[in-house]
Structures are given as structure tokens and as C-alpha cells.
Amino acid sequence: MSNIYLPNLARIIKIQDETYDTKTFEFEFADPKVKQAFKFRSGQFLEISALGVGEAPFGLASNPNRPETFRVTLRAVGAVTWALHQKKIGDLVGIRGPFGNGFPFDEYKGKNIIFVGGGIGLPPLRSLIEPMLDARSAFKDFLILYGARTPADQVYQDRLKEWEKMSEIRFGMTVDVGDANWKGNVGVVTTLFPKCNLIVENTVVFVCGPPIMIRFAIMELSKLGFKPENIVSTLERYMKCGVGKCGHCAIGHKYVCVDGPVFNYKEIGKLPEKS
């Protein structure tokens, strides 16, 4: 019987500073067999451990079409993320997964796509944005909206610049508070909605960010006529085991780690607790 709690060792092969408290780590499994067998879907997550310090769930942030190496982006906020931030290239971490349902990629083909990302909520969306861009012609209108507190809080700055220049997609960016060099939009991410001519028909919207941003984004999208089943998000809970056993991530009768983390708002609305 396979051991669902025993991690595989993975090596850090690249570290990218994103902001003052956020880094992106690129990993590769140490065991070539594990590396070869590893596949994941957009929206799935990993349980990553600094051995002896702790383990926590992180959304995969890279393109599932290229699973040989994979990335997560993490902000140093607790014991595990602090310990991981101390690691250097070549260091080993423990990894279990991938876990969770992931985005049903094929169901979105032929639709208009809108991404609404806030702060550190962009990384899990990026695991879907990148493979969608690989298959750009399968989708209709393609809009990415990204909001951060300040310009210094923006992750993936190089990639944001590329998205801005891409002719085949529409892109909008905003910050809550600008700085001396900021010439773009100032305001929360929902202030971009009226400026972007959002198409409601045949559209699916992906929303990910801090709980407060999600709440306001959903409110505004509903006002514009988007139906709950066409608004998709990834829910966050402290998923300890990742495999539906420890009970920490349960909402109603759903386990975020197994039944999610990807849910649409029709499903979320049916849950007997606030999400």
C-alpha cells in the first residue's frame, strides 16, 4: 500500500525574489523515477515540508505542460514559509502530492476567459493562465486583471510586462496605493471592471486573492450579471494532510483538499457555512 504521508525529496533548483517577503522556488524531484512520473493539473496543490519544522499546502504556480520542474510562490508568514525562505539552491525539501481536483481545463474551451487575481492570489491562477496561453486559439476573449496593494507587492513582474505587451490577450493592472513611479490605475481590482468592457455571455471568471478581495469581486461580478456557476475560485484552508483524513479543511461535507480547492460559486453557495 502506498504511503500517503511519506514525502518525496525534491531539490531547489532556482529561487526568484518576487517582493520583499515573497519568493518563487523551482523544484525538481531528487529521485529520477519520481521526477519522470510526476504530473499535475492546473489548480492542484502540494504539501511542502521543511523537515522537522513543518509542512503546509501551496498551490502549484507553474505550467502543467512542463512538469519536469515545477514552481510555487510563497510569502514568508509562518514557521514553514520562514524555514523555506532560508533554503538555498541545492537544498532538499519534502513534497507530497499533487492533491486536489484542479481546474477542469477542457470545460473552458470555446469560452471567454477572465482572470481576476489579487496579490499572492495570482500564483495558483498562473498554473491555469500559462497552459491556456499555450492553447490560446481554444479560447475566445482573454482578459487578465491583477491587483496588488502597492507596486512593490506585485509578483511575477517580468511576466506581467510580457502579458501587457501580448497582442492576443487583454491585460489590466492596478494597485491600491501607488508610488512615485506608478503611472497605472490606482484602486482595488474591481475598479478595473468598468474600464475593461467585461463580456458576460459565455464567459468564465477565475477569482483568487485575499478573502476580502474575493468577496468584493464576487459582489461586483454578480451585479454585472455573471452567474455563480461561471465564477470559479480556489478555496483556502489549512489543509494538514491533503488527502481528506485530518478534517481541518472540511467545509460542510466537502473537504477542500479532495473535493476542491477549485469550486464554482454555485457549489460554494450550497455549503452550510460561510466560506
Binding site: I4, S49, L51, G52, E236, C241, C246, A250, H253, E273
Partner: protein, 348 residues
């Protein structure tokens, strides 16, 4: 299913035969409490009688220990060696009550769905349960409302062996191949049961089912309906939650509660990751590192616990409600909000 008669005077000879090849755990009195303890012979027959004498804890720690190492690691230069601790012991649990047996079968279902839990199963596969049916329920018992007892039903329930107290002897009902192996450890002790013994058993079960004290838990179905339809007001949950001390006692003594936390130890170049019993009563259970806590409110946590135990959504998923009616939460709860009290309150 096979039925035999085992004379009470032969019980210790049976235990002796079983103990030669495996550990035998039997209910043992330690001062006022009862625990499962290893036994070679000389079983306390008072605790192996038709009267429901429940150990302080259900036998769930045999499949889900209070804490358990998941793996050890040793740092070697830049590398790590990971090892999983061994666990191979086979044990017979003699005299586990029907409610606790039902609890273990409930855990079985949970621990095999989605991802199978190898730590659970390597213990569970080596466990053989000899259930003692209860001819006489005691004060806190309400298994009859939860399909947890007082007798296991050979058609409805899974079990290895069930003993029924017939005064001088036991009726031995053997359902599984694991149970059969126990009979074969000393087959001379077991005589085929005649139809009159089966009749006596049926009469005893009927009498037992009718001797539960009038109890609010007979309103279980009303509570299930109200929880399922989300008809219980937040004010009611808050009112109940306010009586909860966040002690986790109900979860620890519950045969069906299985939530765990994961802990981490690091001593020099070595360490381990381990899991331990946790409880959704605790305010930190869902707290995230950012400080955001989806169930920071007591009422919300209380609702969570009873939604898991009684909602149809879970009933459908697990095949039974998450309560076997052992009544331990009544004893454990300092706030007097054990299952029957809550069910009675939700009925109103």
C-alpha cells in the same frame, strides 16, 4: 454465520490458546475505570457480562493511536534518509461493546475512501474484534437510536465474533474468516448451538432494546432533518457553543471522531513528523497562519461538530450517522452539551 456455545468456565482456556500466537486485550478494571489491557488468562468475567460496562475510552486508539510517528528523518550531509516505523502486532480485542465495534467499522469506511491510510490499515488488518452484546444497557447508553447496538445484527452489521451472555455460557456468533480462526485456536471448547439458544438470544435482544431509559435521543431523526436543511438558527448554535469549554473531551472519547493534527520534531540531525488526536472544538483547528480563522466563532465550531455527526450529507457519504450512541460524551462534557442534550435542544 456459525453459532456455537462456549461455557464460561472455558473462557480462560480459550484466552490462553489465543494468547499463544497473538496479544489478547480484555477489559480490565483500574480503580474505578475500565481499560483494555493485555491478558494471558484470568479474564474478569464481570466485565464480560451482558451488562454494558464501557471502558473509559473506545478501542479506537488501537487503530488510531493518540499519537503516532509517520516517519523519521536523519540528515546526512546535504541529504536526508526517511524511515517509516514498523508496526506488525496482531491483537484480539475481547469484550469490545457493540457500539465501539460499530465505531471501528465506521472508521474503516472513512480511512479507505479517497486515499487509503496505510498507518490505519496496518493496525486494523491485524485486529480481530470479539464483541460483547449488551443484554442490559446502562444509564448513558443510547446505541439503540444510532444503530450502534445493543446487539450487532448478523445481516446489517459487519463483525468477526459476537458473544451473547446466556448466564452460564456464551452464544458465540462467528461471521468472518478472522473470527473463524479464533474458534479454531481451540475448537474443542465450542459446541454447536441449538435452536433454543438462538431463541433465547432473540428474546434477550428484544428485552434489551426495550430497557433503554426514556431518552431524548429518540428524536435523532428530527435533529438530522433540521441540521441537514440548515434550519437551526445561528443563535441556537451560539447558545449551545457558549456551553462548550473547547476541551476536546467529546472528540477524544468518541468512537467515531478521527480528526488529527500533525506535529514536527527536530533534534540535531534527526527528527520526525507525527500525527496526534485533534478536535474541531479547538479554536485553533482552522486558524491559518495569516490569522484568518474561518471558524473562530464557538457557535460555528459547534455547528461543525454536529453537522459532521448528524447531517444527511455525511450520512449519505458514510452510510451511517457519526454517532454510535455509546454515551461517553455525556460523561466527558463539563458543559453538559453531549449528544443527547444537543439533539433534545435541536428538536425544539
Amino acid at each position: 454465520m456459525d453459532r456455537y456455545i462456549l461455557r464460561k468456565e472455558d473462557v480462560n482456556r480459550w484466552v490462553e490458546a489465543l494468547a499463544r500466537t497473538q496479544e489478547v486485550l480484555a477489559p480490565t478494571r483500574v480503580e474505578k475505570e475500565i481499560f483494555f489491557a493485555p491478558t494471558q488468562m484470568a479474564v474478569d468475567l464481570n466485565l464480560l457480562s451482558g451488562t454494558a460496562t464501557l471502558p473509559y475510552l473506545p478501542a479506537k486508539d488501537l487503530v488510531l493511536p493518540h499519537s503516532e510517528n509517520l516517519f523519521h528523518f536523519t540528515r546526512k550531509g546535504g541529504d536526508y534518509e526517511l524511515t517509516v516505523p514498523e508496526e506488525k502486532k496482531t491483537a484480539v480485542v475481547l469484550g469490545i461493546r457493540s457500539c465501539d465495534t460499530s465505531g471501528i467499522y465506521w472508521l474503516d469506511k472513512f480511512y479507505q475512501e479517497n486515499f487509503s491510510d496505510c498507518y490505519y490499515w496496518r493496525r486494523r488488518n491485524n485486529l480481530i474484534l470479539v464483541t460483547m452484546a449488551c443484554n442490559q444497557p446502562v444509564k448513558n447508553c443510547f446505541c439503540v437510536c444510532c444503530e450502534g447496538g445493543p446487539f450487532l445484527d448478523s445481516e446489517r452489521d459487519e463483525f468477526d465474533i459476537q458473544l451473547v451472555d446466556l448466564q452460564d455460557s456464551y452464544l458465540v456468533e462467528c461471521k468472518s474468516s478472522k473470527g473463524k480462526a479464533l474458534i479454531e485456536a481451540n475448537p474443542k471448547l465450542f459446541a454447536k448451538a441449538d435452536p433454543s439458544a438462538v431463541k433465547t438470544r432473540e428474546a434477550l435482544e428484544e428485552k434489551s432494546r426495550n430497557s433503554f431509559q426514556p431518552d431524548p435521543t429518540s428524536y435523532m431523526s428530527t435533529a438530522i432533518r433540521r441540521i441537514t436543511s440548515n434550519a437551526v438558527t445561528p443563535e441556537t448554535w451560539t447558545e449551545l457553543g457558549e456551553k462548550c469549554f473547547d476541551c476536546g473531551g467529546c472528540a477524544f472519547v468518541c468512537p467515531c471522531c478521527s480528526c488529527f493534527g500533525v506535529g514536527y520534531l527536530n533534534e540535531g540531525e534527526k527528527g520526525c513528523h507525527y500525527r496526534f488526536w485533534d478536535s474541531c472544538d479547538y479554536s485553533g483547528f482552522t486558524r491559518e497562519v495569516s490569522g484568518h480563522n474561518p471558524r473562530g466563532e464557538k457557535g460555528e465550531r459547534f455547528k461543525r461538530r454536529f453537522f459532521h455527526k448528524l447531517s444527511y450529507q455525511y450520512l449519505k457519504r458514510d452510510g451511517r450517522i457519526g454517532c454510535v450512541g455509546c454515551g461517553r460524551c455525556i460523561t466527558a462534557c463539563p458543559g453538559e452539551v453531549g449528544m443527547p442534550t444537543v439533539v433534545e435542544r435541536l428538536r425544539k
